[in-house]
Amino acid sequence: MAISKLVSGVKEACKGVEDGMTLMLGGFGLCGIPENCIEELVRLGVKDVTCISNNAGVDNFGLGRLLQGHQIRKMISSYVGENDEFERQMLSGELEVDLIPQGSLAERCRAGGAGIPAFYTPAGFGTEVAEGKEVREFDGKPHILESALTSEFAFVKAWRGDEAGNLVYKATARNFNPMMAMAGKITIAEVEELVPLGTIDPNEIHTPGIFVQRIFQGDSYEKRIEQRTVRPHKN
């Protein structure tokens, strides 16, 4: 009875992505990013895309791969500090950048997926972020009106998934993935492990399959660590 979202692999999953489209990509830093789809977008060579993603990867991994090929026209992000090529393209004017507060970014994606066209938040009042936006006081405190974000495609990465599109994320690799899954007109989920239908306890699913249009198991995951910090073993 379940509606199957299973596709054969990354190539079938990314069918229909075209130049100039708006794409959402889950992940925080390099944690929980859709590695296989990003590589396929590099291979496809789509140009002039707008990417909505909390970060922009590093120079040679994550969204940095798309920046290298000058495939991105505009980034909508909250923090882009780990990427020299990004900074170069932005300061030179090649790359359009819309920086927005992280909480507003998350909530705007959720709103887009939830049919809430706009909401008020205190974040950014009195800053550049508020420019051109409606300000209204609630309970004596000024708030700004933020609008929903949606995208033609959303790329998310989960730990486990089933053919119904149900997803479970691992630890902090969850981050923006659930909201972006909601906000994509076509949401493509790549998973580390595809499990048989009925394997995942329906109580423990993070993203219900209704939000996912295509799912596949990624061929391989590098899962690069950006800041490896450790403490010494006690001897």
Binding site: E87, P101, T172, I225, Q227
Partner: protein, 217 residues
């Protein structure tokens, strides 16, 4: 004069039993190492964990378990993972009771600038704008002056703002200062630092009470 760990040690004294605390990148991260034994405190990292523990032992790093500074971390018993919308629901909804973050500039009216130097450095605000717009209790951890020796405690911020009239307390290498009624109020001196040192390093209006105790670290 304090070093970064000294500032973190002093800020740890601001943390109360039973508080949920968000620590920013840099000096604030160090605060976790100085919380007194026996104090029940949980650290939230806005990328999606509550109950953050220390760095992992070498070899047990998990790429899927990081903090907002993208550092590998561990989770303590009772920890919980969540998505970014829920994370900022905790922050915006004032469930996180204390926020400690760094700054490039703080004004005497409590404005803060820490995300952008026009034409030079544009890293983005990350979660800082949400944090400063929301928390009841915002403590800034920073050096009192910048590398050029200029005061970071100003009548007005010159850099693009992160938030307006939100900072309540600033802890620097020189002093603890409260912000109220449009001025910096000197609360404590760092060990070996005189009121005159602090006055010289503070560009905004500084109110000095009759007696200014030295920090107890």
């Amino acid at each position: 004069m304090l070093d970064k760990n000294g500032i973190a040690t002093r800020i740890a004294q601001e943390v109360e039993d039973g508080q949920y605390v968000n620590l920013g990148i840099g000096i604030p991260t160090l605060v976790a190492n100085h919380i007194p034994e026996g104090l029940n405190v949980e650290f939230q990292s806005e990328n999606g964990i509550l109950g953050m523990g220390p760095f992992p032992f070498e070899g047990s790093e998990d790429a899927d378990l990081i903090n907002a500074g993208k550092q590998t971390i561990t989770a303590l018993p009772g920890a919980v993972y969540f998505d970014s919308a829920t994370s900022f629901a905790m922050i915006r909804g004032r469930h996180v009771q204390l926020t400690v973050l760094g700054a490039m500039e703080v004004s005497e009216t409590g404005d803060i600038a820490n995300w952008k130097i026009p034409g030079k450095m544009v890293k983005g605000m990350g979660g800082a704008m949400d944090l400063v717009a929301s928390a009841d209790n915002i403590v800034v951890a920073m050096m009192h002056t910048n590398r050029a020796g200029e005061s970071k405690l100003l009548p007005q911020c010159s850099l693009p703002l992160t938030g307006v009239a939100c900072v309540k307390r600033v802890v620097t290498n020189l002093a603890v200062l409260d912000i109220k009624d449009g001025a910096f109020h000197l609360v404590e001196r760092a060990p070996g630092v005189s009121v005159e040192d602090i006055r010289a390093a503070t560009a905004g209006e500084l109110i000095v009470p009759d007696s200014v105790p030295e920090m107890q670290l």
